[in-house]
Amino acid sequence: MKKTMTKTALCALAASLTFAALPAQAETLRILTWGGYAPDNVVEMFEQQTGIDVEVTKSNNEGMISKLRATRGGGFDLVQPSQDRIVSAQADFNIYKPIDLSKIDASQMIGSMLDATKKSTTFEGAVYGVPHVWGTSGLVVNRDKAGSVKDYTDLCNADVAGKVSYRLKRPTLIGFAFAMGEDPFAAYGDVAKYTQIMDKVEKKLISCKANVKTYWEGGDALINLVRSGEVNAAMAWDAAGWKLNNENKAITFVSPKSGALGWIDTFAIPRKADNEAAAYQWINFVMQPKIAAMITEAAGNFTASQGADAYVNDTLKAQYQESFPPADVDNIKWYPPVPAGLEEIEGKVLDRVKAAG
């Protein structure tokens, strides 16, 4: 009696476990990416063409790394971290697998951008990322009310007091460092020098805190703040500035005097991806110029797709040209790969800024 009861219980348990573990019937592609990088219309086209179901999860750099770290590189088939964040994460947590470049249609990508990304995502001889979307961080300014803001440190000016917002994240530290005449990227390899720069930035940010209305967290929150007029100048992404510009011509993205910070978001394959083939299919699909233009439309940023510009609407192109005179394009500071350990230094600086009265 006792035995049979135990057996029944075990069978029931086993059965429920089996059900839970059964894979979904249709082939699926699970993408972990930024908002706007896999818009519904593109997903629909891809699903129709390939019959593969696409599941999109939205996140940010830290979220992507954290999620993959927790699953040791499982749970997703394709992720899109920024190129400077791949190598350190790979060294620490071993969450990616190398890209099989033979499966990528390189002819669809802007060559210089592909080469730069390959170089900055190479770890122990293997390439871990190829480029997808690129953009910059700089200043979003209401020119009628905060015309004086030309550089990051101008956010601390008295005439914009209480009408300023930025993120309490590493791009802010880097931007302020450049605006204060330092070159943090050059100091990436020199911990002592980097710490010294960060100390300087910390002091500046603490003294600047009274000027800040709030530290923004998500892109939507920032757009709300600027749109409602509660904030007139902010450090933010170019796409946010252009989006606001569509509604209010006074507001736009301004490339700071010390240079906008350039980032490239990549495609990378998690170490335990289930459906690698579909991931490559997706990469080649979205890099087609027409599709890439659709993504630009949704995300507000340009892609590394060769020839996609031709399909992008004229407004965005005009906004881009207004924000980036040719000299400013050359002045963009592209993020080099972050060496391990720097983020800890930055973290403490950010904590102290947050805690400062």
Binding site: M1, K2, M5, T6, A9, E62, G63, I65, S66, R69, A89, A91, D92, F93, N94, G162, L168, K169, K209, V212, K213, T214, Y215, E217, S228, G229, E230, A340, E343, E344, G347, K348, D351, R352, K354, A355
Partner: protein
Amino acid sequence: MSLRTPKLRLGLLLLLTPMLLWLLLLIILPHVNMAIISLSERVSAGEYAFSLSNYAEFFTESLYWNTFLRTATMSILVTFLTLIIAFPVSYYIAKMLRGRTKGLVFALCLIPFWVSELVRTYGWMILLRETGVVSSSLQWLGLTDGPIEFLYNDAAIIVGLVYTSMLFMVVPLTTTLDSLDDSYIEAGYDLGGNGFTVMREVVIPHAMPGIVSGCIVVFMLTLGNYLTPALLGGKDSLWFTEQIFTQFITRFNWEQGSAFGILLLFLSSFIVWLGLKLSRQSFTRVMS
């Protein structure tokens, strides 16, 4: 009889299995895991060694224990305010209302909790922001000249947290007050007591288990809240759980985050224990 016992025991075991599994898988294992992680330190890429430095960090870096202290004091304040506001509400529901109105008003208190905390917090942001409802109404009424920012300060955090906590105070309070037979209150008056003394000597002592359990739940929830302080507090939020979240998610420093998590568990348990001691209540009685 001797035949029945083993069967009975097995039955009991099978009954308890889901709960024990749940306890083991969702409560004990993660905490043990967290404790282990918290005792290691990253030496180099992918290499970890045993260390107490994560705990030392909490006590040596004033930033961290200050944040904890701030979080704890504000949580105590929120708990207290919630109690002050919830008690009359609960008393009214439990003792003044009868029949259908009683159920209706009680349900009315629960309605805000049908929506998620995020939505509720955004609701407060819409009300309190500079271009929000409160500020515009004040201007419209001519009470102020310019817009006023009510958000992004400690008061906003407290308002949001008290609102979020109300339910968890009103429910246990209403339940214990409801269990207080009217005859005790009447006896209190009959023997010469007035409203104040009856409240102090009869009603509150009876409601004490409800008050304490409500306070424990509200305190723990407030201490562990992440969204409300982050969204309403803005640049000054500074909440301990936010610190843990930051360590885990944006710093990838699971070791530090785990140490903070364990510390939060112990420190908050200690505060609750202290509260119970001070109010001379026992945990089992309060939770029964």
